[in-house]
């Protein structure tokens, strides 16, 4: 489960629908990324990071002890 993405989205006060609209994907895709059930392409990761004003590390990098 990608909690970092969900937390970043909530911190920006965006719903899944709004974020999806912003980066041009469906709400289901955002939901599945947050659930860890879909691996987005690097291109989509960058769009997500830009939309949420975060770096790729902040959104997707996994540290071993997490």
């Amino acid at each position: 489960m990608n909690m970092k993405l969900k937390l970043a989205r909530v911190a920006k006060n965006l719903s899944q629908e709004e974020l999806a609209e912003e980066i041009g994907v469906t709400r289901q895709t955002i939901g599945l990324i947050e659930k860890g059930k879909y691996n987005p392409t690097l291109n989509l990761c960058v769009r997500l990071a830009k939309a949420l004003d975060r770096t790729l590390d902040e959104l997707f990098w996994e540290v071993d002890n997490e």
Partner: protein, 147 residues
């Protein structure tokens, strides 16, 4: 933010699912067509001329699929080796001759030799085209990397 949503509302995940389904159905269709040909030939005892159309569509389809995979980099080669191409050529000729033998019988050696000659010619054309496309595809990829 640049919105990349297309008019149909399809994103990369939808495309991925769509492509997986298409690939699965393509392979399933090919297998079903093989099944139909075997059924007609073995169970219904139909002459091969009665399902040549299906066999032709299938053959063209598979040849094109292999060509596309080789050109668009579905298989990666460090180098395009002639020895490997020759190996595949021999394999196609041997398999083709065995299939011809099974289909027309091994008793008529003149007919079998005729089929063998056809197999060598067809295999040579196929391997030449596939080899050429592999070389062109590799060159295209190298060019794209240099740009």
């Amino acid at each position: 933010m640049n919105k990349k949503k297309n008019p149909f509302g399809i994103d990369e995940r939808n495309k991925e699912i769509f492509m997986k389904i298409c690939t699965f159905l393509y392979v399933a269709t090919i297998y079903m067509m093989i099944g139909i040909i075997l059924y007609r030939q073995i169970i219904l005892k139909q002459h091969s001329s009665q399902f040549n159309d299906i066999a032709m569509i299938m053959s063209i389809n598979v040849v094109m699929a292999i060509a596309a995979v080789l050109y668009f980099g579905g298989l990666s080669f460090k180098r395009v080796k002639i020895s490997v191409a020759m190996g595949f050529y021999l394999l196609i000729v041997i398999l083709g001759t065995i299939v011809s033998g099974i289909k027309y019988g091994f008793s008529d050696l003149t007919l079998l030799f005729d089929k063998f000659l056809i197999n060598t010619a067809v295999a040579a054309i196929l391997i030449t085209i596939w080899y050429g496309l592999t070389w062109l595809g590799k060159r295209r990829e190298d060019k794209e990397m240099d740009e």
